[in-house]
Structure formats: C-alpha cells, structure tokens
Amino acid sequence: MIRIFPSLRFTSLLSAAKPLCSYSPAKSSTETNSLSITPKTPLFLRTPSHATSLSEVWKWHDWAKDLASSVEESSTNSEDVLDSVILHRELKWLIEDSIVDDPLVILHRSEIADNGEKNVKLRASLEELYDLWRQRIEKRRPFQYVVGCEYWRDLVLCVEEGVLIPRPETELIVDMVEELVTRDEWFKKGFWADLGTGSGAIAIGIAKVLGSRGRVIATDLSPVAVAVAGKNVQRYGLEGMIEVREGSWFEPLKGLEGKLVGLVSNPPYIPSDDIPGLQAEVGKHEPKLALDGGIDGTDSLLHLCYGASQMLQRGGFFVFETNGEKQSKMIVDYMMSNDLKDCFSDLKIVSDFAGINRFVTGFRL
C-alpha cells in the first residue's frame, strides 16, 4: 500500500528557506490530490483488443518509415533536428510495444510468404498508431510519452505528460549509491530520500540496491508525478520499501530532520533563459516544473544544499544532479561558504559518461 499524503503545508523550520523554494505559492490556490489522478496505461501494458489485417499494418509501417526518412530534408534548423536513424529505431520499438505477435511479421515482411490477409492483434487501433507517429514527428512529442514508458537501467518505467522522462545520465546516481552501500552496510539500514522523484526512477533504482531492509521516501510537488511514481513503485512490488509523498522538497519529510542516511535529487537546474531554446521534445512537452531552475538554474539546488545540512545525519551521503560545468562548481562553492561551513566533507564533482561535470556528492559532517 502506498501512502500518498495530500499536500499539507507545514510551517517548519525549513520554511526559513522559503525564498529558495519557488513552488510553494503555486500550490496554495488549488488543493490538488494525487489520489484523484489515474496514471495512463503505457502501450505495452494495454489489452490487445484491436485486430487488424497484416497488410493494413504493413501499409502503416511503410507510411511511418517514409515519414521518419523524410525528416532531415524538411528541417532547416541544424541544431534541433530529428535523426532518422533514431526514428527508425523508435518505430521498431513502437511496433514491439503495440503488437502481440512477433514484431518480425512487420519488420521482415519480405521474409514472409503471406499475402497479408492474416489478422494481427494490436494494443492500439491502427488509427491511433497513425496518430501517435504523427505526433512523434510533426508535434515532436517525446517517444517515451508516445509509448508511455521509458527503459531506464533494468527498469521499464511508466511516464506521461507532466512527468520528467528520466535521462540516461541519471542512471549514474544509482550506480554511485550502489557502490556506496556495497562498501558500507550502514547505508542500507537508514532512511533515504529522493526529492522531486518524478517517475520514481531514482527511488526505485536505489530501493533495489538497498536490499530488503531499505527505506526510501520519494517526494514530488506534482500530483501527476506522485501518481505515476506510485504506479511504478507498485509495478515493481516495492510498496513496502518506498513511500511516495506529495509536497515541496523537504516538506513531506517533517519529523525526519537529522535522520536521513542518504539524500538524492535530480532537481530542475536549467537556467530560465535557456528554456525557450531547448530541443522541441523537451521544451514543448516536458514539465517546466521539472526543468526550470530559475535565473541561473540553481534555485532548487541551493535549497537542497541547505536542506541536506538539516536532514542528513552525521556521515549521511548526498548526490545531486546539476546542469554541469559552472553550476556544479557553484554548488560546491556554496556548500563550503559561510552559511554551510563545516556541514559537509568529501565534496566531489563527478562527471557523467560524456565527461560533463554532472553531479555533486558529499557527506554530512
């Protein structure tokens, strides 16, 4: 059973950091409740209630392939273009997710001595498949929203509009935690928190490496995210280990001050001015709430740094994802500045697989 707390506003000691917490006001007007939200079912989990003749599916596939191949010629902006190689791969995955039969009947038509009269079972109507692929290419709707899921580490996570699609870079956070808890069993016993959990990706990844005694609290301000994360937690049967709570950053963690052994977060960190120039899939479709980090992108990160000093117990570990380069340096500088002096040790900047200074890690003194 997932306990999803409705948004409660505390006047906690953390409200001292309010100016940094840019999301609180948005919440005060409407009392949203994630319990009333039913997450969408991803394509691959839907019941295959549509039967279509193979030849009709082939026709769709030809059309979709042509559309995917035509993207490069029509595009003028060289920075933000669709890549037809990637689109072809996505098309293959879309077929995998929507057809019950072996996808090869579609992908290797030349191999099949069949005139296409046979019916195949689909998880979406052909009409919807036309629509989905059009959305992908013409509207630049992210592929993960189109199929309703994202493959991340060894997980398949449900995602939908309103929830940030977990990025491959973020997989490294779980790697770091895994390395830590393998080295030191102490970290397996206490409370962990994943703030701004979105789809619940990091929380689930961490719960799996913590083992049966692990406890993770995942929070998010967005009711949609809380509902989706809850669904993902349930899908992996981790209700006993992960608790999804709705609320801004540390607010849902009241009573756990100085008790956490670990704190992780991939907060919004993109500077506001960069938002309009983002890749269409990101800028036009993903939630601003999960991307926009204020003027220099550090609003939430700075709040998290302060919160980490309050919430972590001695020896507790934290890792935050950042926009890289300058920003990670700024965070480390802030953590060594007067406000937080003597709070942390072993502050480190860890780069991602592309060599970008992506993460800041450290321990509570």
């Binding site: 990637i86 995955w93 191999e111 493959y151 060894d154 990025r167 890749q279 926009n323 970008i356």
Partner: protein
C-alpha cells in the same frame, strides 16, 4: 593400413555362418511365420516392418497367393535395407578416409613410445596428459574399427540373402538393427569430431557489416542477412534480428542476428570472413558489373553466467553515445548505444538494440567477452591476457567465399574449393554443403597440424 578389425569381424562372420547353416536346414516351403517364432511376442507390433508382414502371414498362412504377396513385401524391404547398407558403407568409407587413419596410427605409436620412455613419469602432469591423449586417440581408433566391422557385418547379411533362394527375417532384422545403430554412432562421431570446439554447442551471434561501396554493398549485406535467416529457419533454429541499421537507399549498413539452438555456433562459425559478390548492379542505370563486399563476424551466444571471465575495469574503455550539447535535462534523445573497447587487444563491440544504456552495456560486455574467448581459442591462448593484440586487427579476416551472379552463376568457397552454380538455393539458405565442406576442411587441417606438432 593394417587394422585390428579382422578379429571381431571373423567372430561375427562365424556367428552369421552358424545361422546360415541353421537356415539351410529349413525346408524351403515352410511359411515364414515359423521362422519368426523365436522373436518375443510383445515386440511384434512395434519392432520393425517385418513383423507386421509376419502377422499378415499368420492370419492366412494357408493361402499360397498370400505368401507370394508376403515375399514381395519382403523383397521391397530387402531392397531398402540393401540401399541403406550401401549408403552406410560409403559413409564409413568417407569418415575413415577423412579421419586420417595413418596419421592416427602414427600418433598412437608416437605416444606409446613416449610412454615407455624411462623418464616418462618424471613430469607427472605431462605424463597424465599424454596418457589421456593416448586414450582419446585409441578410443577414436576403436570407434573407426567398429564402424568398419558393423558395416561389413551388414554387408555380409545382404550378400548371404542375395545368394539364398529364401529370406531369413531375423537375419535381415539384425542387419537393420546394425545399420540403425551404426548410423547413430556415425552421427555422434561426426558431430564430436567436427564440432568439438568449446563453444560449438552454443547458439550464435552473427554480425553482418556492409563493406565500402555504398548502396550495392549495403544491399549485399541485406542479402546475406536473409540467407543466414533462411538457413537458421531450415535448421529449425530460432533466429532473431536484434539490431539493424538501414542503408540510406536500400539494404543495411549492419545487422546483428541471434541464432538460438544446439550447435548453431559450431556450424556457422566458419562463415566468419569477407563475402564477395559479383553482379550487375541493380542500383546503376547502366547495369555495370559491380563487385561488393560484406563482412560476417560470428560469436557464440553465451548465457551471461557462462562467460566466466573477469576483465579488469582498467582494460575496458566504455563509451556511451553522447546525446550532445549540455546533456542531462536539456536533451531527450533515445540514444542509448554503448561501445566497449578492450584496450589491450583493441577488440571492440557496440550495442544499440536495447532500450536502456545499462542494458546495452551489460549486453555489450557479454558480447565482448564472447568475442575475446573465441579469439583466445583461435590463438590457443589459455587466458585473455595471452591474446596477441596485433593478430586481431584484421576486422573480418580473409575473403572466404565468392558469389558470382554475372556473367555466369557460381558460388565458390575460397578455402575448401566447394562450389555450386545453384546460387538461388544458396541465397535461400542452402548452406549445408558449404558448412560441411568447411568443417571437414578444418578438421583435416587440425589433424595435420596435430601430427606435425
């Protein structure tokens, strides 16, 4: 080529002669039923086709016309048997010829003389190795002799039956049993001799890459992919294209095909190399003659836990496809490709078919290990550390086969010389003659090198 087969053969012949004598005592007009009486009744219905004939005779053994019918039936069965014996005989002949009997004898003699050396037991491990090698060789020799004995026994029965004016069912049945048994042993022998590599039993991963030459080469790679898929289907293997990168105009730049099933790797590993096509280009309006190449790489499809080698982290260069730009939240591209290079040898694999980076990395690592194991085996290295990096540079290795579509039709294997003009069947997956020819060729080479060593 003096063999010890005469002993058992003589004994066998004697036994048959004994039966023959018995047979001669039999009144020629006796119904067949009587003769088959020694057979235990429960086996009648299922043991062989003769038995059902006997039943037919039993029901109406007084009718003369029916008896004629019975002997006709028997004649048919006899002809089938004779044919089977001929085929088995040819097969034994072939196996004995390709096994290199003289080499085998010489080797046994060598090892035996070594074993009698006074200093033989000074190195115990070495001595054990020599003895077990000697045992293996003797076993093989014994099997080869047994095959000859068995086929000769069956031949004798056929000959006797031909000379006699009537048929002895139990004797023919014995011959049938011998042939059945012999064919089984021959199958087993062939398989263990030709497919004795450590990974031969496994499934296979076939990686096809189009060579330089644009659309023509990419189309050629696609044709090869189809050929191997057809071959796999014919063997009743499970085939799956796990990764494919399409060419711009037609065909494919590369594809990875997984073939699941016993001995898939053993059979198809010899396809590794460069495949050359000569044809009139379908992509050139002038229809000029065009030569293109495609590379085929074959690795065993090993289960994760079977790849029992550890590669030190520092020997691996793992690179991920960069989403580009600032990365992180700024970019969302479903680009999860992982490339792993084994630094000491320069062997690299790339994995793009999985939908998450971690999954691609895991799969790439398994594939890299499989690749290194195969290279280690080829170089007779016992450890990955021993692989000579300079020797693995050549990407797909030598050219192994030519496929000429124009001006004449011919598929010819460069290594074995095996050829056929039926290019359509080959492209439809009829690769077995080529595969068998190569396996034999490889076996002969191995035998020859074993002797010189």
């Amino acid at each position: 080529m003096v063999l010890t087969v005469l002993g058992p053969l003589a004994g066998r012949s004697f036994a048959i002669t004994g039966k023959h004598k018995l047979l001669l005592l039999r009144p020629t007009n006796l119904p067949l039923l009587r003769l088959s009486l020694p057979l235990p009744p429960p086996q009648f219905s299922s043991s062989s086709s003769f038995v059902s004939v006997v039943f037919a005779a039993q029901e109406s053994n007084l009718s003369v016309s029916n008896e004629n019918e019975t002997s006709e039936w028997l004649m048919q069965d006899f002809y089938t048997l004779r044919k089977d014996v001929e085929i088995a005989s040819a097969r034994v002949e072939e196996i004995r010829a390709s096994a290199g009997l003289e080499q085998l004898e010489q080797e046994i003699a060598n090892l035996e003389s070594k074993a009698t050396d006074t200093s033989f037991w000074d190195d115990r491990t070495k001595a054990q190795e020599t003895l077990s090698a000697l045992n293996d060789l003797k076993d093989r020799m014994r099997l080869l002799s047994e095959f000859k004995t068995m086929v000769e026994d069956a031949e004798t029965i056929v000959k006797l039956t031909e000379e006699m004016d009537s048929t002895d069912v139990s004797l023919l049945e014995e011959a049938m049993g011998i042939i059945k048994e012999l064919n089984k042993s021959l199958d087993r022998f062939e398989l263990t001799q030709l497919l004795s590599g450590p990974y031969d039993k496994e499934g296979a991963v076939v990686y096809i890459t189009a060579g330089a030459g644009g659309t023509d080469a990419q189309d050629w790679a696609d044709m090869l992919l189809r050929m191997y898929m057809r071959w796999g289907e014919k063997q009743r293997y499970k085939t799956k294209v796990v990764e494919m990168s399409n060419g711009e105009e037609a065909g494919i730049k590369s594809a990875t095909l997984e073939i699941e099933g016993r001995y898939a790797y053993g059979y198809i590993s010899g396809e590794k190399g460069t495949h050359r096509i000569v044809r009139q280009s379908p992509f050139n309006s002038k229809g000029l003659r065009q030569t293109s190449f495609s590379g085929v790489e074959v690795m065993p499809l090993l289960p994760e836990e079977a790849v029992g080698i550890e590669i030190p982290e520092e020997d691996l260069d793992i690179s991920f496809t960069r989403a580009g730009g600032k990365g992180g939240q700024n970019v969302n591209k479903v680009e999860t490709a992982v490339r792993i290079t084994h630094i000491p040898t320069g062997v690299a694999v790339r994995c793009t078919e999985e939908r998450s980076q971690l999954a691609n990395k895991t799969r790439a690592l398994i594939r890299l290990k499989a690749k290194l194991l195969v290279i280690a085996e080829e170089q007779r290295a016992t450890e990955i550390k021993e692989i000579r990096g300079d020797a693995v540079k050549a990407e797909w290795g030598q050219q192994i086969r030519n496929y000429v579509f124009h001006p004449y039709k011919l598929v010819k294997d460069v290594r074995t010389g095996h050829e056929t003009s039926d290019i359509t069947s080959v492209m439809d997956g009829d690769l077995d003659p080529f595969i068998k020819a190569y396996l034999k060729h490889k076996y002969t080479l191995a035998m020859a090198s074993a002797v010189t060593n």
